[in-house]
Protein backbone atom coordinates (compact mmCIF):
# COMPACT_ATOMS: atom_id res chain seq x y z
CA UNK A 1 0.00 0.00 0.00
CA UNK A 2 1.28 3.43 -0.82
CA UNK A 3 1.42 6.36 1.54
CA UNK A 4 -0.28 9.50 0.29
CA UNK A 5 0.12 13.03 1.44
CA UNK A 6 -2.88 14.98 2.70
CA UNK A 7 -2.79 18.76 2.90
CA UNK A 8 -4.11 20.94 5.71
CA UNK A 9 -6.59 22.31 3.17
CA UNK A 10 -7.98 18.84 2.48
CA UNK A 11 -8.49 18.26 6.21
CA UNK A 12 -10.10 21.70 6.56
CA UNK A 13 -12.56 20.77 3.80
CA UNK A 14 -13.41 17.53 5.57
CA UNK A 15 -14.01 19.35 8.86
CA UNK A 16 -16.29 21.87 7.14
CA UNK A 17 -18.16 19.34 5.01
CA UNK A 18 -18.33 16.91 7.94
CA UNK A 19 -16.73 14.08 6.00
CA UNK A 20 -15.49 11.11 8.01
CA UNK A 21 -11.79 11.04 8.80
CA UNK A 22 -9.77 9.02 11.28
CA UNK A 23 -6.68 10.78 12.64
CA UNK A 24 -3.83 8.90 14.28
CA UNK A 25 -1.99 11.65 16.13
CA UNK A 26 1.53 10.45 16.97
CA UNK A 27 2.73 13.47 18.97
CA UNK A 28 3.51 13.04 22.65
CA UNK A 29 0.55 13.00 24.99
CA UNK A 30 1.00 16.44 26.53
CA UNK A 31 1.09 18.17 23.14
CA UNK A 32 -1.95 16.18 22.08
CA UNK A 33 -3.90 17.06 25.22
CA UNK A 34 -3.06 20.72 24.80
CA UNK A 35 -4.19 21.05 21.20
CA UNK A 36 -5.43 18.83 18.38
CA UNK A 37 -7.50 18.74 15.18
CA UNK A 38 -11.19 18.85 15.98
CA UNK A 39 -14.34 18.38 13.97
CA UNK A 40 -17.74 16.73 14.22
CA UNK A 41 -16.80 14.05 11.70
CA UNK A 42 -13.27 13.59 13.00
CA UNK A 43 -12.33 10.55 15.05
CA UNK A 44 -8.93 10.94 16.66
CA UNK A 45 -6.60 8.62 18.54
CA UNK A 46 -3.26 9.45 20.15
CA UNK A 47 -0.25 7.14 20.41
CA UNK A 48 3.21 8.73 20.52
CA UNK A 49 5.43 7.70 17.58
CA UNK A 50 8.13 6.56 19.99
CA UNK A 51 5.86 3.84 21.31
CA UNK A 52 5.49 2.51 17.76
CA UNK A 53 9.17 2.26 16.80
CA UNK A 54 9.23 -1.49 17.40
CA UNK A 55 6.03 -2.10 15.48
CA UNK A 56 2.52 -0.89 14.83
CA UNK A 57 0.66 -4.10 15.73
CA UNK A 58 -0.73 -2.65 18.95
CA UNK A 59 -2.29 0.32 17.24
CA UNK A 60 -3.62 -1.58 14.21
CA UNK A 61 -6.82 -2.68 15.90
CA UNK A 62 -7.60 0.92 16.83
CA UNK A 63 -7.55 2.02 13.21
CA UNK A 64 -10.86 1.49 11.41
CA UNK A 65 -10.65 -0.23 8.03
CA UNK A 66 -13.69 1.52 6.58
CA UNK A 67 -12.56 5.11 7.21
CA UNK A 68 -10.01 7.29 5.52
CA UNK A 69 -6.94 7.48 7.79
CA UNK A 70 -4.36 10.23 8.19
CA UNK A 71 -1.32 10.14 10.48
CA UNK A 72 -0.42 13.47 12.09
CA UNK A 73 2.60 14.74 14.03
CA UNK A 74 4.22 18.07 14.85
CA UNK A 75 6.14 18.66 11.64
CA UNK A 76 5.55 15.52 9.48
CA UNK A 77 8.71 13.41 9.96
CA UNK A 78 7.29 11.02 12.53
CA UNK A 79 3.96 10.74 10.74
CA UNK A 80 5.72 9.62 7.55
CA UNK A 81 7.62 6.99 9.55
CA UNK A 82 4.45 5.64 11.14
CA UNK A 83 2.45 5.89 7.89
CA UNK A 84 5.15 3.85 6.14
CA UNK A 85 4.95 1.18 8.83
CA UNK A 86 1.16 1.04 8.59
CA UNK A 87 1.44 0.83 4.84
CA UNK A 88 3.85 -2.11 5.10
CA UNK A 89 1.31 -3.75 7.37
CA UNK A 90 -1.20 -3.49 4.54
CA UNK A 91 -3.12 -0.33 5.42
CA UNK A 92 -3.80 2.50 3.03
CA UNK A 93 -3.05 5.71 4.92
CA UNK A 94 -2.00 9.32 4.40
CA UNK A 95 0.10 11.70 6.46
CA UNK A 96 -0.53 15.38 7.06
CA UNK A 97 1.88 17.38 4.92
CA UNK A 98 3.76 19.86 7.13
CA UNK A 99 2.20 18.40 10.29
CA UNK A 100 0.40 20.43 12.95
CA UNK A 101 2.58 23.37 11.98
CA UNK A 102 0.82 23.49 8.60
CA UNK A 103 -2.55 22.89 10.25
CA UNK A 104 -1.98 25.83 12.59
CA UNK A 105 -1.15 28.08 9.65
CA UNK A 106 -3.87 27.07 7.22
CA UNK A 107 -6.44 29.74 6.37
CA UNK A 108 -9.68 28.77 4.67
CA UNK A 109 -11.32 31.70 2.83
CA UNK A 110 -15.12 31.59 2.96
CA UNK A 111 -17.48 34.06 1.31
CA UNK A 112 -19.91 35.47 3.86
CA UNK A 113 -22.10 37.45 1.49
CA UNK A 114 -22.57 40.32 -0.88
CA UNK A 115 -22.59 43.94 0.13
CA UNK A 116 -24.04 46.90 -1.77
CA UNK A 117 -22.97 47.56 -5.34
CA UNK A 118 -21.29 44.22 -5.97
CA UNK A 119 -18.93 44.38 -3.00
CA UNK A 120 -18.09 41.16 -1.15
CA UNK A 121 -17.28 40.10 2.39
CA UNK A 122 -14.88 37.21 3.08
CA UNK A 123 -13.88 35.47 6.28
CA UNK A 124 -10.57 33.64 6.62
CA UNK A 125 -11.03 30.77 9.04
CA UNK A 126 -7.89 29.52 10.76
CA UNK A 127 -9.29 26.21 11.95
CA UNK A 128 -6.11 25.09 13.70
CA UNK A 129 -5.96 28.14 15.95
CA UNK A 130 -9.51 29.48 16.04
CA UNK A 131 -8.52 32.85 14.55
CA UNK A 132 -10.83 34.69 12.18
CA UNK A 133 -9.77 37.48 9.85
CA UNK A 134 -11.65 39.36 7.16
CA UNK A 135 -11.46 40.98 3.75
CA UNK A 136 -13.88 43.50 2.31
CA UNK A 137 -13.61 43.79 -1.47
CA UNK A 138 -15.26 46.60 -3.36
CA UNK A 139 -14.68 47.84 -6.86
CA UNK A 140 -11.01 46.93 -7.16
CA UNK A 141 -10.08 47.82 -3.58
CA UNK A 142 -9.77 45.69 -0.50
CA UNK A 143 -9.49 46.08 3.28
CA UNK A 144 -7.99 43.41 5.53
CA UNK A 145 -9.11 43.17 9.15
CA UNK A 146 -7.34 41.32 11.98
CA UNK A 147 -4.94 39.56 9.64
CA UNK A 148 -2.73 36.69 10.74
CA UNK A 149 1.01 36.52 10.04
CA UNK A 150 0.38 34.38 6.92
CA UNK A 151 0.31 37.56 4.86
CA UNK A 152 0.78 35.88 1.47
CA UNK A 153 -2.68 34.36 1.73
CA UNK A 154 -4.33 37.80 1.80
CA UNK A 155 -2.06 39.24 -0.87
CA UNK A 156 -2.73 36.34 -3.22
CA UNK A 157 -6.43 36.32 -2.51
CA UNK A 158 -6.74 40.04 -3.21
CA UNK A 159 -4.74 39.58 -6.41
CA UNK A 160 -7.01 36.74 -7.54
CA UNK A 161 -9.96 39.14 -7.10
CA UNK A 162 -8.03 41.86 -8.93
CA UNK A 163 -8.29 44.10 -5.91
CA UNK A 164 -5.66 46.37 -4.40
CA UNK A 165 -5.38 46.34 -0.62
CA UNK A 166 -5.78 49.97 0.45
CA UNK A 167 -6.60 49.64 4.15
CA UNK A 168 -5.48 47.29 6.88
CA UNK A 169 -7.19 47.38 10.27
CA UNK A 170 -6.75 45.62 13.60
CA UNK A 171 -9.59 45.71 16.13
CA UNK A 172 -7.08 45.64 18.97
CA UNK A 173 -3.54 44.72 19.96
CA UNK A 174 -3.63 40.92 19.79
CA UNK A 175 -2.15 38.74 22.52
CA UNK A 176 -2.79 35.29 21.09
CA UNK A 177 -1.46 35.55 17.55
CA UNK A 178 0.98 37.67 15.62
CA UNK A 179 -0.68 40.25 13.42
CA UNK A 180 0.31 40.48 9.78
CA UNK A 181 -1.22 43.95 9.55
CA UNK A 182 1.93 46.00 9.51
CA UNK A 183 3.63 43.75 6.96
CA UNK A 184 0.68 43.81 4.57
CA UNK A 185 0.44 47.58 4.86
CA UNK A 186 4.15 47.94 4.12
CA UNK A 187 4.01 45.66 1.08
CA UNK A 188 0.92 47.29 -0.45
CA UNK A 189 1.35 50.88 0.71
CA UNK A 190 -1.98 50.56 2.42
CA UNK A 191 -2.95 52.58 5.48
CA UNK A 192 -2.56 50.64 8.74
CA UNK A 193 -5.20 51.56 11.30
CA UNK A 194 -4.81 50.76 14.99
CA UNK A 195 -6.79 51.91 18.04
CA UNK A 196 -4.47 54.54 19.59
CA UNK A 197 -5.10 53.45 23.17
CA UNK A 198 -3.73 49.99 22.33
CA UNK A 199 -0.85 51.45 20.36
CA UNK A 200 0.81 53.70 22.95
CA UNK A 201 3.94 51.55 22.91
CA UNK A 202 4.22 50.62 19.23
CA UNK A 203 7.47 51.40 17.49
CA UNK A 204 6.09 52.11 14.01
CA UNK A 205 3.82 54.66 12.31
CA UNK A 206 0.09 53.96 12.10
CA UNK A 207 -3.16 55.78 11.52
CA UNK A 208 -5.17 56.30 14.71
CA UNK A 209 -8.50 54.54 14.51
CA UNK A 210 -11.05 56.14 16.77
CA UNK A 211 -14.76 55.87 17.37
CA UNK A 212 -16.61 57.74 14.64
CA UNK A 213 -13.90 57.23 11.98
CA UNK A 214 -15.21 56.10 8.59
CA UNK A 215 -12.94 54.16 6.28
CA UNK A 216 -14.17 53.86 2.70
CA UNK A 217 -13.30 50.95 0.42
CA UNK A 218 -13.78 51.27 -3.33
CA UNK A 219 -15.51 53.95 -5.32
CA UNK A 220 -18.87 52.67 -4.28
CA UNK A 221 -18.13 53.56 -0.70
CA UNK A 222 -18.40 50.50 1.46
CA UNK A 223 -18.07 52.22 4.79
CA UNK A 224 -16.38 50.80 7.86
CA UNK A 225 -17.60 52.61 10.95
CA UNK A 226 -15.31 52.36 13.93
CA UNK A 227 -17.07 51.88 17.24
CA UNK A 228 -14.98 52.29 20.39
CA UNK A 229 -15.70 49.24 22.51
CA UNK A 230 -13.13 48.74 25.29
CA UNK A 231 -13.06 45.72 27.58
CA UNK A 232 -10.77 43.03 26.16
CA UNK A 233 -8.12 45.70 25.75
CA UNK A 234 -8.49 49.37 26.58
CA UNK A 235 -8.41 50.32 22.90
CA UNK A 236 -10.63 47.55 21.50
CA UNK A 237 -12.68 48.89 18.62
CA UNK A 238 -15.50 47.22 16.71
CA UNK A 239 -16.36 47.88 13.09
CA UNK A 240 -19.71 48.03 11.38
CA UNK A 241 -19.26 47.16 7.71
CA UNK A 242 -21.89 48.38 5.24
CA UNK A 243 -24.55 48.45 7.97
CA UNK A 244 -24.62 44.67 7.76
CA UNK A 245 -21.76 43.15 9.73
CA UNK A 246 -20.47 43.89 13.23
CA UNK A 247 -16.82 42.93 13.54
CA UNK A 248 -16.58 42.50 17.28
CA UNK A 249 -12.87 41.67 17.64
CA UNK A 250 -12.22 39.87 20.93
CA UNK A 251 -15.09 41.62 22.75
CA UNK A 252 -17.96 39.34 21.82
CA UNK A 253 -17.78 35.81 20.47
CA UNK A 254 -20.56 33.48 19.37
CA UNK A 255 -20.67 31.37 22.50
CA UNK A 256 -18.58 33.44 24.91
CA UNK A 257 -17.24 36.90 25.65
CA UNK A 258 -13.77 38.44 25.74
CA UNK A 259 -11.49 38.18 28.75
CA UNK A 260 -10.20 41.45 30.17
CA UNK A 261 -7.01 40.20 31.80
CA UNK A 262 -4.39 39.69 29.10
CA UNK A 263 -2.72 43.03 29.71
CA UNK A 264 -2.83 42.37 33.45
CA UNK A 265 -5.71 44.78 34.10
CA UNK A 266 -8.75 42.58 34.59
CA UNK A 267 -10.14 44.60 37.50
CA UNK A 268 -9.77 47.90 35.66
CA UNK A 269 -11.31 46.76 32.42
CA UNK A 270 -14.20 44.64 33.55
CA UNK A 271 -16.37 47.77 33.88
CA UNK A 272 -15.56 48.79 30.31
CA UNK A 273 -16.35 45.30 29.08
CA UNK A 274 -19.76 45.39 30.70
CA UNK A 275 -20.49 48.89 29.38
CA UNK A 276 -19.61 47.79 25.84
CA UNK A 277 -21.58 44.55 25.90
CA UNK A 278 -24.61 45.67 27.90
CA UNK A 279 -25.02 49.27 26.69
CA UNK A 280 -23.12 50.15 23.54
CA UNK A 281 -23.93 46.95 21.67
CA UNK A 282 -27.57 47.16 22.83
CA UNK A 283 -27.95 50.36 20.88
CA UNK A 284 -27.01 48.66 17.60
CA UNK A 285 -29.42 46.97 15.22
CA UNK A 286 -30.34 43.39 16.16
CA UNK A 287 -30.04 42.52 12.49
CA UNK A 288 -26.25 43.01 12.39
CA UNK A 289 -24.30 39.81 11.91
CA UNK A 290 -21.61 39.49 14.56
CA UNK A 291 -18.23 38.45 13.16
CA UNK A 292 -15.68 37.90 15.94
CA UNK A 293 -11.89 37.48 15.75
CA UNK A 294 -12.07 33.97 17.21
CA UNK A 295 -14.11 30.91 17.67
CA UNK A 296 -13.50 28.68 20.66
CA UNK A 297 -15.20 25.40 19.84
CA UNK A 298 -15.90 23.71 16.54
CA UNK A 299 -19.67 23.78 17.23
CA UNK A 300 -19.57 27.53 16.58
CA UNK A 301 -19.03 26.90 12.88
CA UNK A 302 -22.01 27.46 10.57
CA UNK A 303 -22.94 24.93 7.88
CA UNK A 304 -20.58 26.51 5.35
CA UNK A 305 -17.68 26.61 7.81
CA UNK A 306 -17.99 30.31 8.55
CA UNK A 307 -18.44 31.79 12.01
CA UNK A 308 -21.06 34.50 12.60
CA UNK A 309 -24.53 35.04 14.03
CA UNK A 310 -27.10 37.81 14.31
CA UNK A 311 -26.60 40.17 17.23
CA UNK A 312 -30.23 39.68 18.29
CA UNK A 313 -29.68 35.93 18.52
CA UNK A 314 -26.58 36.41 20.66
CA UNK A 315 -28.47 38.70 23.02
CA UNK A 316 -30.89 35.83 23.49
CA UNK A 317 -28.47 32.92 23.60
CA UNK A 318 -24.97 34.00 24.67
CA UNK A 319 -24.58 33.42 28.41
CA UNK A 320 -22.07 36.26 28.76
CA UNK A 321 -24.69 38.77 27.55
CA UNK A 322 -27.30 37.55 30.00
CA UNK A 323 -25.82 38.07 33.44
CA UNK A 324 -28.11 40.64 35.06
CA UNK A 325 -26.15 41.03 38.27
CA UNK A 326 -23.06 43.16 37.82
CA UNK A 327 -21.21 41.48 40.69
CA UNK A 328 -21.83 38.09 39.19
CA UNK A 329 -20.55 39.35 35.84
CA UNK A 330 -17.44 40.72 37.50
CA UNK A 331 -16.80 37.41 39.25
CA UNK A 332 -17.22 35.45 36.03
CA UNK A 333 -14.77 37.46 33.95
CA UNK A 334 -12.12 37.99 36.59
CA UNK A 335 -12.22 34.68 38.44
CA UNK A 336 -11.90 31.19 36.93
CA UNK A 337 -9.99 32.47 33.94
CA UNK A 338 -8.56 29.85 31.61
CA UNK A 339 -4.74 29.64 31.32
CA UNK A 340 -3.25 32.51 29.38
CA UNK A 341 -2.34 31.93 25.73
CA UNK A 342 1.12 30.59 25.00
CA UNK A 343 3.80 33.35 25.01
CA UNK A 344 1.13 36.07 25.13
CA UNK A 345 3.50 38.72 26.45
CA UNK A 346 6.01 38.06 23.69
CA UNK A 347 3.21 38.11 21.13
CA UNK A 348 2.03 41.50 22.38
CA UNK A 349 5.56 42.87 22.18
CA UNK A 350 5.96 41.51 18.67
CA UNK A 351 2.71 43.20 17.64
CA UNK A 352 4.02 46.45 19.13
CA UNK A 353 7.18 46.14 17.04
CA UNK A 354 9.37 45.83 20.14
CA UNK A 355 10.53 42.34 19.17
CA UNK A 356 11.19 40.90 15.74
CA UNK A 357 11.45 37.13 16.13
CA UNK A 358 12.25 35.03 13.06
CA UNK A 359 9.50 32.98 11.47
CA UNK A 360 10.51 29.78 13.30
CA UNK A 361 10.25 31.57 16.63
CA UNK A 362 6.93 33.21 15.65
CA UNK A 363 5.53 29.79 14.86
CA UNK A 364 6.64 28.46 18.21
CA UNK A 365 5.11 31.43 20.04
CA UNK A 366 1.71 30.77 18.48
CA UNK A 367 1.64 27.03 19.12
CA UNK A 368 -1.40 25.74 20.95
CA UNK A 369 -4.97 26.89 21.31
CA UNK A 370 -5.96 30.52 21.68
CA UNK A 371 -7.59 31.40 24.94
CA UNK A 372 -9.13 34.82 24.59
CA UNK A 373 -12.58 34.08 25.91
CA UNK A 374 -14.48 33.36 29.08
CA UNK A 375 -17.61 31.25 28.93
Amino acid sequence: MSVKEMTAKEIAQKVIKKEDLFILDVRNQSDFNDWKIEGESIEIFNTPYFDLLDGVEEVMERIPVEKEVVVVCAKEGSSILVADMLSEAGRSVSYLKGGMKAWSEHLEPIKLGDLHDGAEMYQFVRLGKGCLSYMVISNGEAAVIDSTRMTDVYLEFAASKEAKITHVLDTHLHADHISGGRQIAEQTNATYWLPPKDATEVTFAYQALEGGNVVTIGNTAIDIHALYSPGHTIGSTSFVVDEKYLLSGDILFIDSIGRPDLAGLAEDWVGDLRETLYNRYRQLSDELIVLPSHFMIIEELNENGSVGKQLGTLFAENHGLNIKDEKEFRAMVTGNLPPQPNAYQEIRETNMGKMTPDSEKQREMEIGPNRCAVR
Partner: protein, 188 residues
Protein backbone atom coordinates in the same frame (compact mmCIF):
# COMPACT_ATOMS: atom_id res chain seq x y z
CA UNK B 1 30.61 20.10 31.69
CA UNK B 2 28.44 17.30 32.96
CA UNK B 3 30.14 13.93 33.08
CA UNK B 4 28.38 11.12 31.24
CA UNK B 5 29.18 7.61 30.06
CA UNK B 6 28.40 8.32 26.44
CA UNK B 7 27.50 11.16 24.06
CA UNK B 8 25.14 10.98 21.10
CA UNK B 9 25.25 13.60 18.35
CA UNK B 10 21.75 14.17 16.99
CA UNK B 11 22.36 17.76 15.90
CA UNK B 12 20.58 18.84 12.73
CA UNK B 13 18.25 15.86 12.83
CA UNK B 14 14.49 16.37 12.72
CA UNK B 15 11.89 14.37 14.57
CA UNK B 16 11.68 11.34 14.78
CA UNK B 17 15.44 10.79 14.32
CA UNK B 18 16.67 12.12 17.70
CA UNK B 19 14.47 9.59 19.51
CA UNK B 20 15.19 6.78 17.05
CA UNK B 21 18.94 7.27 17.59
CA UNK B 22 18.56 7.69 21.35
CA UNK B 23 16.63 4.43 21.58
CA UNK B 24 19.39 2.63 19.70
CA UNK B 25 22.14 4.19 21.81
CA UNK B 26 20.33 3.37 25.05
CA UNK B 27 20.00 -0.28 24.01
CA UNK B 28 23.77 -0.49 23.80
CA UNK B 29 24.35 1.09 27.21
CA UNK B 30 24.80 -0.50 30.60
CA UNK B 31 21.99 -0.21 33.11
CA UNK B 32 22.35 2.87 35.29
CA UNK B 33 24.67 4.66 32.87
CA UNK B 34 24.05 8.18 31.63
CA UNK B 35 23.74 9.30 28.01
CA UNK B 36 24.06 12.87 26.77
CA UNK B 37 22.09 13.60 23.60
CA UNK B 38 22.95 16.72 21.65
CA UNK B 39 20.03 17.88 19.52
CA UNK B 40 18.86 21.00 17.73
CA UNK B 41 15.22 20.01 17.21
CA UNK B 42 13.24 22.12 19.69
CA UNK B 43 10.53 19.52 20.01
CA UNK B 44 13.09 17.01 21.29
CA UNK B 45 12.88 18.14 24.93
CA UNK B 46 9.20 17.24 25.38
CA UNK B 47 9.70 14.01 23.45
CA UNK B 48 12.76 12.94 25.51
CA UNK B 49 10.77 13.44 28.70
CA UNK B 50 7.73 11.58 27.41
CA UNK B 51 9.76 8.78 25.85
CA UNK B 52 11.76 8.25 29.07
CA UNK B 53 8.57 8.08 31.05
CA UNK B 54 7.05 5.50 28.73
CA UNK B 55 10.19 3.33 28.70
CA UNK B 56 11.19 3.59 32.36
CA UNK B 57 14.43 5.44 31.74
CA UNK B 58 15.23 8.42 33.90
CA UNK B 59 15.09 11.86 32.28
CA UNK B 60 17.57 13.99 34.24
CA UNK B 61 17.26 17.31 32.48
CA UNK B 62 18.23 19.49 29.55
CA UNK B 63 20.85 22.20 29.26
CA UNK B 64 20.53 24.78 26.50
CA UNK B 65 23.81 25.92 24.96
CA UNK B 66 23.17 28.36 22.15
CA UNK B 67 21.15 26.44 19.58
CA UNK B 68 22.13 23.06 20.99
CA UNK B 69 19.97 21.22 23.49
CA UNK B 70 21.85 18.75 25.67
CA UNK B 71 19.52 16.14 27.09
CA UNK B 72 20.63 13.80 29.89
CA UNK B 73 19.07 10.36 30.27
CA UNK B 74 19.95 7.54 32.64
CA UNK B 75 19.24 4.00 31.54
CA UNK B 76 16.76 2.23 33.77
CA UNK B 77 18.56 0.02 36.28
CA UNK B 78 15.84 -1.73 38.24
CA UNK B 79 17.92 -1.14 41.38
CA UNK B 80 14.80 -0.18 43.37
CA UNK B 81 14.08 -3.92 43.55
CA UNK B 82 17.30 -4.84 45.34
CA UNK B 83 16.95 -5.71 49.02
CA UNK B 84 18.59 -3.15 51.31
CA UNK B 85 21.07 -4.58 53.87
CA UNK B 86 22.64 -1.67 55.73
CA UNK B 87 20.85 -1.43 59.08
CA UNK B 88 21.59 2.16 60.07
CA UNK B 89 19.04 4.28 58.17
CA UNK B 90 17.46 7.70 58.47
CA UNK B 91 14.32 9.01 56.76
CA UNK B 92 14.35 12.03 54.44
CA UNK B 93 12.38 14.08 56.96
CA UNK B 94 14.65 13.20 59.87
CA UNK B 95 17.74 14.11 57.87
CA UNK B 96 16.12 17.41 56.94
CA UNK B 97 15.43 18.39 60.55
CA UNK B 98 18.87 17.18 61.58
CA UNK B 99 20.45 19.40 58.91
CA UNK B 100 18.58 22.40 60.27
CA UNK B 101 20.19 21.91 63.69
CA UNK B 102 23.71 20.78 62.94
CA UNK B 103 26.21 20.55 60.16
CA UNK B 104 25.75 17.14 58.54
CA UNK B 105 27.92 15.43 55.98
CA UNK B 106 25.84 14.20 53.02
CA UNK B 107 27.50 12.05 50.37
CA UNK B 108 25.48 11.71 47.17
CA UNK B 109 26.45 8.49 45.33
CA UNK B 110 24.33 9.00 42.20
CA UNK B 111 25.94 9.62 38.80
CA UNK B 112 27.45 13.10 38.30
CA UNK B 113 24.72 14.06 35.82
CA UNK B 114 21.95 13.15 38.25
CA UNK B 115 23.70 15.21 40.92
CA UNK B 116 24.13 18.17 38.58
CA UNK B 117 20.40 18.66 37.96
CA UNK B 118 19.20 18.29 41.52
CA UNK B 119 21.06 17.88 44.82
CA UNK B 120 21.04 18.91 48.46
CA UNK B 121 23.10 22.08 49.04
CA UNK B 122 26.62 21.24 50.29
CA UNK B 123 26.23 17.54 49.50
CA UNK B 124 29.40 15.88 48.22
CA UNK B 125 29.13 14.16 44.83
CA UNK B 126 30.80 10.77 44.91
CA UNK B 127 29.32 8.38 42.31
CA UNK B 128 29.08 4.77 43.47
CA UNK B 129 31.43 3.64 40.72
CA UNK B 130 34.19 5.96 41.98
CA UNK B 131 33.69 5.30 45.69
CA UNK B 132 36.52 2.82 46.27
CA UNK B 133 39.24 4.89 44.62
CA UNK B 134 38.12 8.09 46.39
CA UNK B 135 37.70 6.78 49.95
CA UNK B 136 40.53 9.00 51.18
CA UNK B 137 38.41 12.09 50.53
CA UNK B 138 36.14 11.12 53.42
CA UNK B 139 36.75 11.28 57.17
CA UNK B 140 36.51 7.77 58.71
CA UNK B 141 35.43 9.05 62.11
CA UNK B 142 32.75 11.47 60.87
CA UNK B 143 29.06 10.72 60.70
CA UNK B 144 28.28 10.25 57.01
CA UNK B 145 24.81 10.30 55.42
CA UNK B 146 24.75 8.46 52.12
CA UNK B 147 22.04 9.30 49.66
CA UNK B 148 20.99 8.24 46.13
CA UNK B 149 17.70 8.29 44.24
CA UNK B 150 15.80 5.45 45.91
CA UNK B 151 18.07 4.20 48.70
CA UNK B 152 19.54 1.18 46.88
CA UNK B 153 22.84 2.49 45.57
CA UNK B 154 23.34 4.32 48.86
CA UNK B 155 22.73 1.00 50.66
CA UNK B 156 25.56 -0.57 48.66
CA UNK B 157 27.76 2.45 49.31
CA UNK B 158 27.00 2.30 53.06
CA UNK B 159 28.04 -1.36 53.15
CA UNK B 160 31.26 -0.60 51.29
CA UNK B 161 32.12 2.30 53.59
CA UNK B 162 31.43 0.24 56.71
CA UNK B 163 33.65 -2.62 55.58
CA UNK B 164 36.36 -0.07 54.76
CA UNK B 165 36.38 0.96 58.39
CA UNK B 166 33.98 3.88 58.51
CA UNK B 167 32.23 3.95 61.89
CA UNK B 168 29.07 6.04 61.50
CA UNK B 169 27.47 5.48 58.11
CA UNK B 170 23.76 6.19 57.74
CA UNK B 171 21.70 5.41 54.64
CA UNK B 172 19.05 8.02 53.72
CA UNK B 173 15.78 6.41 52.61
CA UNK B 174 14.11 6.72 50.25
CA UNK B 175 16.45 9.46 49.00
CA UNK B 176 16.33 12.15 46.32
CA UNK B 177 13.29 10.80 44.48
CA UNK B 178 11.12 11.91 47.42
CA UNK B 179 13.24 14.77 48.75
CA UNK B 180 11.17 17.81 49.81
CA UNK B 181 13.95 19.91 51.31
CA UNK B 182 16.02 22.57 49.55
CA UNK B 183 17.98 21.56 46.46
CA UNK B 184 20.28 23.22 44.00
CA UNK B 185 21.54 22.73 40.48
CA UNK B 186 25.08 22.85 39.13
CA UNK B 187 24.62 22.39 35.41
CA UNK B 188 26.83 25.26 34.26
Amino acid sequence: MIKTNSILDAKGLACPMPIVKTKKAMNAMEAGHVLEIQATDKGSTADMKAWSESTGHQYLGTVEEGTVLKHYLRKSSGDEQIEKKHANVISNDDLLSKMENQKSVVVDVRESAEFAFNHIPNAVSLPLGELEERLSELDKKAEIHVICRTGSRSDLAAQKLTSAGFKQVINVVPGMSQWNGPTEKSTN
